[in-house]
Amino acid sequence: MYSVNYHRASSVADAAKQLKNGDAKLLSGGMTLIPAMKTRLAAPSDLVDVSRLKELQGVKVSGKTVTIGAATTHYDVSTDEKLKKACPALAHLASLIGDPAVRYKGTIGGSIANNDPAADYPAALLALGATIVTNKREIAAEKFFKGLFETALKEGEIITAVTFTAPAKAAYQKFRNPASRYAIVGVFVTKGKDGVRAAVTGAGEDGVFRSKEIEAALAKNFDASALDALKVSAKGLMGDLHASADYRANLIAVMAKRAVAAANA
């Protein structure tokens, strides 16, 4: 690790101010940034730590509206009783992230700001039609996730929360990379008042995406059997040491089916 100036922000406003220092980076759980710094792949001049800000913590459920503070840890999301009632699929997804150490430190805001193409949350937020709230504006998930490790966030912009309307049904199924335990393929399906949505993580060359073919098949019949004839094309899917594009295409269909079955269970 190169030397770095550490600031513990006292508020979101303070964090925004501190972010103007040199090549400053926002630090939340640090689950990606710190290892990258240790291996010298990242070298920010300053770190602005927002992980302890009370205003960024916690899950709120009001009717069907769910709001999760950006610095809420995966553990807190996975165990929140209100969320488990309103949208159990998201709590379940959080329980599948990394290992216990990661879940105690990693945060939802950090995960989506990083937008790792194999991360779990982007699929959920896309399928839930969530809104990402920042210190400057509100961004629809659809517009937020832009390719590998890229988001709509502008310089100095800080995610403060994500919010969404709990769907009638939802579930997430992922097939893990045997080494890293990230998703080789993860599929999040929802059925709500705006219809059916299915988002896929881990597989797309451009990161998380909605699968029109799955959504179309499920729109008519939200049942796993509706996907029996589904053939997912390998076009635009990643291929690497662990999984070919063909294998990922197969897993998208399998995980989608299992997610629908789980959502209906």
Binding site: M1, A179, H242, N250, L251
Partner: protein
Amino acid sequence: MGIEGVGARVARKEDKRFITGGGRYVDDMVVPGMKHAVFVRSPHAHAQIKKIDVKKAQAMPGVVGVLTGKELKADGIGNLICGWMIHSKDGTPMKMGAWSPLAVDKVRYVGDAVVIVVADTKGQARDAAEAVEITYKELKAVVDATKAIQPGAPQIHGEAENNLIFDWELGDAKATDAAIKSAAHVTRMKIVNNRLVPNAMEPRAALGHYDKAEDHYTCWTTSQNPHLARLVMSAFYNVAPENKLRVIAPDVGGGFGSKIYIYPEEIVCLWASKKTGVPVKWVADRTESFLSDAHGRDHVSTVEMAFDKDNRITGLKVDTIANLGAYMSLFSSCVPTYLYATLLSGQYDIPAIHANVRTVYTNTAPVDAYRGAGRPEATYVLERMMETAARELGVSPAELRRRNFITSFPHQTPVIMNYDAGDYNTSLDAAMKAADYAGFTKRRADAAKQGKLRGIGMSCYIEACGLAPSAAVGSLGAGVGLWESAEVRVNAVGTIEVLTGSHSHGQGHETTFAQLVTQRFGVPIDSVSIVHGDTDKVQMGMGTYGSRSGAVGMSAIAKALDKVEAKAKKIAAHLLEADEGDIVIENGEVKVAGTDKSLPWLQVALASYTAHNLPAGMEPGLKETAFYDPSNFTFPAGCYICEVEIDPETGLTEIVQFVAADDFGNIINPMIVEGQVHGGIAQGVGQALLEGAYYDGNGQLLTASYMDYTMPRAADLPSFKISTSNTPCPGNPLGIKGCGEAGAIGSPPAVINAITDALGVVDIAMPASPATVWAAIRATKH
């Protein structure tokens, strides 16, 4: 058996310090004035070094020294060597290319050390390492051994034409060819044994300290054999003469073979300490370990197995290409030869065997012994062949094996080994019973109803352990003898220190070795200390590998105990005015048999040191030394059965049952033996299902972190069903065979036999990852 003696499940004495953070590893060592080293390593798999400019680096904050291979050579530091001479079948010696501890003209793999940077802090050393400017001219690289021996492949060492190190054979080619020609059936396969990275929990580390006042060097290093390190560094690398070099291997966090060898870093740290005038410490980070620890396996074999009309094996022909990486590591040459081809008879009576082995340089990390070392590769070849043959012949895999088992001992195989004892039917029966083999058909049908593919596979392994009779290995090319030494020091108050040349890096010697002493004298186990890992304390030893610490190391202790016992009895007989032959030692007392006359053990010990009343002519003291050189290898053997269930939609394999029935001879501590079996199976399952080291075509290691290299996790494994049978080893005084490697040797073929059984395919590549299994299922449908 007492509660602390031989055969007792004594809790490990060393674990308290390990699990409370009290272990002391090389990285915990602090010497006044110590500085930190970082190695600048080659980013290229194959390149000429055109220029090294260290000026900028030298001027960086905190930098004490930036040293290159040219300076190292100028100081007369020697090249690394391979310590086992193999001759090709044409009689020429192996073609060993030079391995300079710091590369001088050329780099040959990604991770090759080029420059050492020493600075006040590790961070400063890293900063300065980035400022070292090296100009390379990149050359074409080759990573696949089968391609490296093709004409026109990049030439890695001038000494080895077409990268061929040696072309060696063992066995009778003519008789084997004749057996194949006249066979009723021949099974043929190409068998690949995947490359692995050892991944000891503690990365390698070295601390070199040159004391100018004493003109003396100390090296703390993560070694499985500190004495061998001292010997090699003195005799071949010209670091320091033995009497001026102390090597200490303190607590070491796992080795699995990878810490046998003497690597460039410890040599360079010692030399750099003298050069810079400060103690120099280097600790590998994890990616450095992936890049530069000696890797394991990486064989490609073409195999033919001949059977007569009664399904008896009549011949076995094996042609193997072994990838040794960019340089010949210390024992790299013996692994694919004398630790491999000599085991190709397995548990079977095979009249004719011929093995041909070509070893090859490639632009990859050096390859050397890794848990099992050659024996897993031999077992994999043989047990995959047996399974395939059984399927081709339409007979049950168990019956085919049974028909060919060796049943009378001693048994001379056609490939050097003389098996002293064994009972293979007993292991097979025990494993089949534990696995409910007969119930498998129903379990398979039940699984099919759930949409799952179930398969069962077995593996009957044998290994040669207790390395090894010195004269025998010497005649085969070894540069060292493989005896072991021990010294038993009874202190004046009766407590006992045992100094051993074996080295414990996870095996639990501090407990098992002490159990041996407790058994002998009936003293409490807490009054026995095991001292190891320091060349200033233990005179000489050959270290720990090849499951040798029990069979060889403890045999040396037993010999020394014999001498101590004899002397103690003489003293007691004198003091008790009894006949020496009537003295017995038990429960901490020295007694005259059949009387109530006795002395506490401590009184005999004290008497030996006060020397007020010793038998006439007896030297004072109660301390004895012994060297034990085994008369033969030992031959642990057993049967493993693996049952898998595969999800055909995802290709995910679940091991639903794993049975191990081993014959390790006599056992000192069953709990520790079970731990060794568990760990070994985890590593074997790791090889079969999860682990694989992959280089791309340019020689970049794609699996250089745990993001891409899959280590086995607890959740990948079922609860094992393990048992042991016991035919004592006749070759050593304790009847021990060894248990350290069996799990890693026996399990990969059992797993792959089960998967191929489930899928109905002939072969599948290791690691049989979900993607690989899914692709195989898809191929069967097309």
